[in-house]
């Protein structure tokens, strides 16, 4: 059984348990409002998780996402504050800066040969310093029409979540149907093999870093539209760096790179969203929420690694097996 299908079985279990718990509170888990709460919870983490999946597949990781999110939310909100046409400009600018950060991450990892952990931690700190110095709080303002993107929903599904899923589909396409995607898997699997097969091993890593920062940038823009302003702390508030990595591994992607899927990550994100929504609905002690999250992460990955223990072809099955 593929690890992705395992993820969705896990998700199913979480939903069932959640629905029961919520039901016990005299609520309906599947009511529009509750589902919207779940889907809303998926949108931002989903965007970040998609990017994080790409870097992890290419055998790196990105701890700078929270700061990229904050930065992009500020750039977007400040540029848009004049309203009208400046909206497009704001989005483009925010994404440009995000991409630039991703480029730096990618270059530091590939050219300076700094482990992704240190490289992105360092770049994150650099951005943090800039944010803390330059911004003394939320800044800029997002015009009403753009705030709509953050609040609007079709039935129970927020537009933002639909957008997130669209991006996931696009990335799925990228990974399975384009050379770049194939090469991200290849480099993540083994850089040396890829090199001898004629790949320029640094480009997939750089690309995945750029795309990761871009999706973090998108998440930042989405947050700006939800908050109506840009915020220098909005990224760190959610702890999106470690949470996104957690979502990716809960989604069945290997931290060692080269193996995993985007839909798995979406499943992982959904698991976290459902958990959070349920714990809020049953007014679970806020301090214990992290305990639950922590346990879920470890248990989930433990289950996957049990199943995915590579099986050779069995010639003489045990009697009774």
């Amino acid at each position: 059984m593929s690890s992705t299908s395992l993820v969705y079985i896990a998700l199913f279990v979480v939903v069932v348990i959640g629905a029961i718990l919520v039901g016990a509170e005299g609520r309906n888990f599947f009511s529009t409002g509750n589902l919207r709460d779940v889907f809303t919870g998926m949108s931002v983490l989903g965007l970040v998780g998609i990017g994080q999946t790409l870097v992890i597949l290419s055998r790196s990781l990105d701890l700078s996402v929270p700061y990229v999110m904050s930065l992009s939310s500020l750039i977007a909100a400040q540029t848009m504050s004049s309203g009208g046409a400046s909206i497009a400009v704001g989005v483009v600018l925010a994404l440009l800066f995000s991409a630039a950060v991703g480029l730096v991450n990618g270059l530091v990892v590939t050219k300076l040969r700094v482990h992704g952990f240190i490289a992105t931690l360092g770049v994150g700190l650099i951005i943090k310093g800039y944010l803390d110095t330059t911004y003394k709080g939320s800044a800029g303002s997002v015009p009403k029409e753009f705030q709509f993107i953050g609040s609007a929903a079709i039935g129970a599904v927020p537009v933002s979540t639909i957008g997130m899923l669209a991006l996931a589909a696009a990335v799925y396409f990228l990974l399975t149907k384009t050379r770049t995607g194939h090469h991200i898997y290849a480099v993540g699997g083994s850089a040396e093999v890829s090199r001898l097969s004629g790949l320029r091993t640094s480009s997939p890593v750089i690309i995945s870093h750029v795309l990761c920062s871009l999706s973090a940038g998108l998440a930042g823009i989405l947050l700006a539209s939800r908050l109506g302003v840009g915020s220098p702390t909005v990224g760190t508030q959610g702890g999106y760096d470690l949470l996104s990595i957690a979502a990716v591994v809960v989604g069945g992607t290997l931290l060692s790179g080269g193996h995993g899927s985007i839909w798995g990550t979406i499943g992982g994100v959904a698991i976290f969203a459902v958990l959070d929504s349920v714990m809020s609905a049953i007014q679970f002690n806020p301090f214990l929420k992290d305990v639950v999250r922590g346990l879920v992460i470890v248990v989930a990955v433990a289950i996957y690694s049990r199943r995915s223990s590579e099986t050779k072809r069995v010639r003489f099955p045990e009697k009774g097996k």
Binding site: T178, R179, H183, Y185, S194, L196, G198, R315, F316
Partner: protein, 501 residues
């Protein structure tokens, strides 16, 4: 006469100041197989990697079809029609055969990867070579070692290359697979492809090569047509000293004593009904095809993938071996098939590698072992200036010697060697054989797995043949290759492979 398709003119290359190639010139004719032989460290792989665009030559020039070439990247070489099959496996276990073969040049349609075409083309190449037991869309991780090696070769062929250089292509292959490869090579020759062929199996070189170049210490010491040289002469050129007896005789005073290791009805998910015994001072050879379960048997004895049925007796005492640690404690040593993956810690020093087992399994004996290590290493002629050097910079032969030292320092009673001479040079091979004889003299029980039939025949006191995970009947030391092959392949050749695909 025709011009050379690939020519190297006075090529030189140094690593960290050490010159590994100096002024080497060779010419490869189209439609011919050009052997490249020499001890490890002679510069063969370096020369190939220069052709392949992995390294750049420091001095000298390379000419392909009369055009000067200087590849900065493997892809350029492949695109120019110069494909290379490297010695190490260069496949991604998590990707399919087709994805591996077309990695870096996936066929595209409207800018997107055309997976259908990729699978189809792969199938076509394999059909052309009569390979029906590998599916283009199966994951590489599900293939056997030999199958992976074959995929390697298919990969090189899939560039319709005019020059293919192969580094030890048969190292992992059993004889019938070697024949398969040789038929492929014949087909390529007829197409006018030039083949550069590196091998340590001299018989092979003499079978298939038209011309040969002998390298020693980075210099070209002989170059000419194969008819112009004899095997002993070639060995002399390679090692610089004549090797009269390739397989040293049993040493004076070696006595085959009590049964040291005995297995009754051993079995697990890979092998079944294994009954095997090795006496002290005895060398037992296990022959058989790749995938016949030889490695699985020794891994079971060693506890890496333990038996789930049957009994193991050591010196007549029933012993439970659930993991390698228990095996080591019981005095068993296993020189694994895959040296780099299972035998060494490549970034650690020679000394640390020699002490791996003692530190890991008998920490209390470390002090003593630390004293003996230099002696043991030098007795195996590990020619290395200082023991602090990282082992990854040693040649395969020397690495293997360190692996042996690592085990000798535990004073094993039973030594299991799995393909002990794969990919190592003649000098090192002889060192390994001699060591085996010395251990036998000391009364150690030795079990050797090998794909090289001459080796099995030359070294074993007794030969057992495996097929499809079961032991066939044993043979005496006088067994000949034909007997072994019939037992190994059974009536129909390829059965072992066939039922695995």
């Amino acid at each position: 006469m025709v011009d050379a398709i690939l020519r190297a003119d006075a090529v030189s290359k140094s690593f960290s100041g050490v010159e590994v190639l100096s002024e080497v010139s060779i010419a490869l004719m189209p439609g011919s197989v050009h052997g490249l032989v020499g001890e490890n460290g002679a510069g063969k792989s370096t020369l190939m990697k220069i052709f392949a665009g992995v390294y750049r030559a420091d001095r000298g020039s390379v000419w392909l079809d009369g055009k000067h070439i200087d590849f900065g990247h493997p892809l350029e070489a492949m695109k120019a029609g110069l494909a290379t099959v490297f010695q190490e496996f260069n496949l991604l276990p998590d990707r399919t055969v087709a994805e591996n073969i077309y990695l870096g040049r996936e066929p595209q349609k409207f800018g997107f990867v055309n997976s259908k075409k990729m699978v189809a083309d792969t199938g076509a190449v394999m059909a052309e070579l009569g390979i029906d037991f590998i599916s283009p869309s199966s994951r590489v991780s599900s293939l056997s070692v030999a199958e992976q090696q074959i995929v390697e070769i298919i990969k090189a062929l899939s560039f319709d290359a005019r020059v293919i250089s192969m580094d030890e292509p048969t190292a992992a292959l059993a004889d019938h697979e070697v024949q398969l490869l040789q038929s492929v090579i014949a087909r390529l020759k007829s197409r006018g492809v030039g083949i550069l062929y590196v091998s340590h199996r001299l018989n092979e070189v003499f079978d298939i090569c038209d011309a040969v170049s002998v390298l020693k210490d980075g210099k070209l010491v002989w170059d000419g047509l194969i008819e112009e040289i004899t095997q002993p002469e070639m060995v002399r050129l390679m090692v610089g000293r004549p090797i009269d007896a390739f397989f040293p005789p049993v040493l004076e005073g070696t006595t085959i004593g009590q049964t040291r290791l005995e297995i009754f009805e051993g079995g697990n998910e890979f092998v079944d009904s294994i009954n095997l015994s090795v006496k002290s001072g005895e060398i037992v050879g296990i022959a058989g095809l790749q995938g016949a379960g030889r490695t699985e048997v020794v891994e079971a004895i060693f506890g890496a993938v333990p038996f789930s049925r049957g009994l193991i007796h050591i010196d007549g005492v029933e012993t439970s071996i659930r993991n390698p640690r228990q095996a080591v404690k019981a005095g068993i040593a296993l020189v694994t098939e895959d040296r780099k993956a299972q035998g060494l810690a490549l970034e650690q020093s020679i000394l640390d590698n020699a002490l791996l087992t003692v530190r890991g399994a008998h920490p209390s004996r470390t002090r003593g072992a630390r004293r003996d290590a230099p002696g043991v290493l030098s007795s195996l002629e590990v020619n290395s200036t200082n023991l602090g050097q990282e082992i990854q910079f040693l040649s395969g032969g020397n690495q293997q010697k360190v692996v042996l030292s690592k085990w000798l320092l535990t004073n094993p009673r039973i030594v299991i060697l799995d393909e002990p001479t794969r990919g190592i040079d003649v000098g090192a091979k002889v060192a390994v054989y001699t060591l085996m004889r010395e251990l036998a003299l000391k009364g150690v029980a030795i079990l050797m797995v090998s794909s090289e039939l001459p080796e099995v025949i030359g070294m074993s006191d007794r030969i057992v043949v495996m097929r499809e995970g079961r032991l066939q009947q044993g043979l005496g030391p006088q067994a000949d290759e034909a007997q072994i092959l019939t037992l190994a392949t059974g009536t129909i050749a390829l059965t072992a492979e066939g039922e695995k695909s």
